[in-house]
């Protein structure tokens, strides 16, 4: 059974059909590439899955239960983590606090625990601090622990977003163009990190224009164009697919 399934998922904005009857699925522990030209509906698909948008038609199910129409914070608590194409960090806070936000769904302490600094709160905070440091170690952010997020270079900020998502211990991680804007050494580090994440058993949906990375990491690839799924399969398969070649390069028939 797949971890995440969308069936005939559709999202309309007025007359524009951003996502058009897309059937998409991710298996546990798998890296799924999601590619397509600009404006093909990849980010919209992620936004519908994570509850930012409500689908116009169709459904999304996670671990067998329907999740469409639920609020983003509920979907996050079920184990779906994400990063954003345009970085959405808490810019005035430290890297530590940014990653700490990822632990929010696991916090049990209530307001009175905070006001009276109960043992429960202290134990929880100690436990989280250790886990945050472990995640920072895992992502190579340890030296930047107390830096303010705004002062970090772009590439590091993207990693902080991934660390924040990992802190929530997701079963599925949706990464929206993690390699965009990264230099080649940062891309190499990112690829290693994503492989390490897959080894921990977390499934990944990788939206990416960086084809070398998609080829190296993806078990399967889905291709969208104008909101429609035009192809799916292994990277080698979709590479040969005429529909994919047409979407990226055009037919060229007019000049032939």
């Amino acid at each position: 059974m797949s971890l995440l399934t969308t069936s005939r998922l559709t999202k309309r904005f007025g007359g524009i059909v951003a996502v058009n009857e897309v059937d998409f699925n991710v298996g546990a522990g798998e890296i799924c590439g999601l590619i397509g030209p600009n404006g093909s509906g990849k980010t919209t698909l992620v936004n519908v899955i994570t509850g930012i948008y409500k689908p116009t038609a169709g459904g999304v199910s996670f671990e067998g239960q329907p999740i469409h129409g639920r609020a983003p914070h509920e979907i996050c608590a079920l184990g779906v983590g994400r990063t954003f194409q345009n970085i959405r960090l808490l810019l005035t806070l430290s890297v530590f606090d940014n990653v700490r936000l990822g632990a929010h769904i696991h916090t049990r302490a209530k307001l009175h625990d905070v006001l009276f600094q109960t043992g429960k709160l202290r134990r929880e905070e100690k436990e989280f601090a250790e886990r945050i440091d472990a995640v920072l170690e895992f992502t190579g952010l340890r030296p930047l622990r107390n830096e303010v997020a705004r002062n970090l270079p772009y590439g590091r900020q993207k990693i902080v977003e991934i660390a924040r998502a990992l802190m929530a211990r997701p079963k599925l991680l949706l990464l929206d163009e993690p390699a965009a804007g990264l230099n080649s050494s940062e891309k190499g580090q990112l690829r290693t990190l994503l492989q390490k994440i897959r080894e921990t058993g977390v499934a990944i949906v990788l939206i990416e224009h960086e084809m070398a990375m998609v080829e190296a990491l993806s078990n399967r690839v889905f291709v969208l164009n104008y909101g429609k799924k035009i192809s799916q399969g292994t990277f080698a398969e979709i590479q040969r697919d005429a529909a994919v070649i047409e979407a990226y390069l055009g037919t060229g028939g007019a000049h032939a």
Binding site: T50, I52, A71, P72, H73, C76, A77, R82, F84, R88, L89, L90, L91, T92, L93, S94, F96, D97, R100, L101, G102, A103, H104, I105, T107, A109, L111, V114, L115, Q117, L121, N146, R164, A165, A168
Partner: protein, 340 residues
């Protein structure tokens, strides 16, 4: 906030409160002492705004309405129904908290300038309701002979203890996961909800905590003045509270404490200037806003950026000029403070 930074702030705050605890021993004249007491009372409202505006990023220009709810709940229960002032002290913040829920609801959909206008309207509605329900509130004639919880110097120390507890609670909140959720909402609501923060609940929580603190301040206002009148809870008061919290650095507890004491006493210090007093007062505030390091102008800039970055689908965002005007008008809106 790192642990050393937290304890540094806690220590700084403790020092300020220690000085405040020693002030009565130096034999301050009674009028000056009264101003200090009013400063302590305003401090609670400033803490309420530190949480609401500084942490959560929800700008309220209606805090005077919440202070009024607290003050009148206490006054009505103690005067009209002869309730013990101690019970009044409990009931008033509860009532203010309930009203805070109502004030919080519009924040689900409204951001930036739209929310601000909403809070202004809220405070006006409260004031007009008080003015027109003469049987209950005394209307324009006010509410007289309000009993105090404890009297004289003991009231001062009682207020000091309550303010200390509130300040410590605020700082603890700031460091906790709840404070982090508040700040996440301030920085980026979409990121917050995507990381599992129930944005609506946390906004409501911020409004309720804020309202409880403002209501508590209202109780102390009733205790200090012994008389309540709707004129004490106008837009002027709300904007002065905003000025205090902005001067204090928005999310800085100790800064807020210092600025509430300073802004409360400044018009009194300048009293010898007679007619030019308010001009000088406004000028000093503007200079403070521009130059003092304690005031942490970068926080104000961040807040102004947020105003500018209001979602476009809700109409035109406030331009730089408008955002600047809000700050400038709050800087000059302190007239009649304390003297009222």
């Amino acid at each position: 906030m790192t642990k050393p930074a937290y304890w540094k702030r806690m220590g700084l705050m403790a020092a300020v409160f220690l000085v405040l605890a020693l002030v009565p021993l130096s034999g301050v004249p009674s009028y000056q002492f009264y101003i200090l007491e009013r400063g302590l009372q305003n401090l609670l409202v400033v803490l309420s705004l530190v949480i609401l505006l500084g942490y959560t990023g929800q700008l309220s220009l209606g805090q005077a309405g919440l202070v009024a709810v607290g003050a009148y709940t206490y006054g009505i229960l103690c005067v009209n129904y002869g309730l013990s002032p101690w019970l009044g002290l409990l009931a008033a913040p509860l009532m203010a908290g309930l009203v805070g829920v109502i004030l919080g609801f519009p924040s689900f959909k409204l951001t930036g300038p739209f929310l601000v206008v909403n809070t202004i309207a809220f405070a006006e509605i409260v004031r007009i309701l008080i003015l027109n329900n003469e049987k209950l509130t005394g209307g324009p004639f006010g509410l007289n002979r309000i009993p105090t919880i404890v009297s004289g110097l003991r009231l001062y120390y009682f207020m000091l203890v309550v303010a200390w507890l509130a300040a410590v609670g605020t700082l603890r909140l700031s460091r906790s996961h709840i404070g982090l959720a508040f700040k996440a909402i301030r920085e980026d609501e979409v990121a917050a909800e995507s990381m599992g923060v129930h944005v609506r609940n946390y906004k409501l929580l911020a409004f309720v905590i804020s309202a409880v603190l403002a209501g508590l301040s209202g109780v102390f206002f009733a205790n200090l003045a012994g008389y309540l009148n709707p004129d004490s809870f106008t837009f002027n008061e709300s904007s002065t509270y905003l000025l205090m919290v902005v001067l204090g650095g928005m999310s800085n507890v100790t800064g807020g404490i210092l600025s509430s004491l300073a802004v409360t006493s400044l018009p009194e210090v300048l009293r010898f200037m007679a007619r030019s007093r308010m001009v000088v007062y406004s000028l000093i505030l503007l200079l403070l806003l521009r130059y003092t390091k304690v005031l942490q102008v970068e926080n104000l800039r961040r807040w102004m950026r947020r105003l500018r970055a209001a979602p476009p689908q809700q109409g035109p965002a406030a331009g730089p000029g408008q955002a600047g005007d809000v700050a400038a008008s709050s800087a000059t809106a302190g007239r009649d403070k304390v003297t009222g």
